[in-house]
Amino acid sequence: MKLQKASLFALYAVLELASDPERQLSATDIADNYGISTHHLAKILRTLVRSGLVQAVRGAGGGYRFAGSVNRTTLLDVIDLFETLDSEIENPNLGNQAGRPIMEELQSISNEIGDLTKAILDTITLETALNSSRQQN
């Protein structure tokens, strides 16, 4: 599985903000913590605000604050805002070629892998991910 940058940066931002829902952080604060582009992250934060997971706080000292449910929101919920985790095999088509059975089998295997990936991401809440990361430190 290879997540798009937007999904990965969104996970960084959401987990960082959810680690202390009372805290406000700017896009620059978050970008600096993860060594990523502030410009790119700002776009991602706008999507997160629209989704309701993150709240934009305006004015001096403003920034972003987590506004979702830390024990209900899963990693897949965040990723789904930016991409669909499709199968990585893209068969050109499944017409009448002699190779169709092999193409279908490879697609089936790829779907099996994709389903497992989604099942894992859909059962890890932000709270669980944060707790695990704290235990690693």
Partner: protein, 148 residues
């Protein structure tokens, strides 16, 4: 409220409430199955087989069942959890965590160093619970096929 919860070994009179709690998750009661489990686990006098219940001052509100299981294909014995239920009225106050924590303690005392379970992918709530307790995808892959 979790301070007021007691975790104890199940006794035969807990059978009906365990059947009832289990039916919330499985959507049907399995009295014969649970009678058999209680007979085998409570009468065995064996620390390898464990049924625990969570109790308030008034009711039994949760249960967990596990055992030390030997495995084929070269795997050493490990702890195996195969049932967990908490009353819908007492969820999200840590009862599942207390049950699982005590079960892990008992399994460790019985001599194993890891605990394992298997849950259908569609059981998102149960999967999320075990994830929250630190379980991750293990070194085995469950395989199955439809029998013709």
């Amino acid at each position: 409220m979790s301070d007021q919860i007691t975790i104890r070994n199940a006794v035969p009179t807990d059978l009906n409430v365990v059947i009832s709690l289990d039916s919330v998750g499985t959507e049907k009661e399995k009295p014969a199955y649970w009678k058999d489990v209680f007979d085998r686990y409570l009468n065995a006098g064996n620390s390898d087989r464990i049924i625990l219940v969570a109790e308030t001052s008034e009711d039994v509100v949760g249960f967990i069942v596990g055992e030390v299981r030997a495995w084929e294909f070269g795997s050493p014995p490990c702890g195996w959890v195969f049932a967990l239920g908490v009353s819908t009225k007492t969820r999200e106050i840590g009862i599942g965590h207390l049950l699982f924590k005590e079960l892990c303690l008992r399994l460790k005392q019985a001599g194993v160093t890891s605990v394992r379970t298997m849950i259908a992918r569609k059981q998102k709530l149960v999967l999320s619970f075990f994830r929250s307790q630190g379980l991750r995808t293990g070194p085995y892959i469950e395989l199955e096929k439809q029998l013709d």
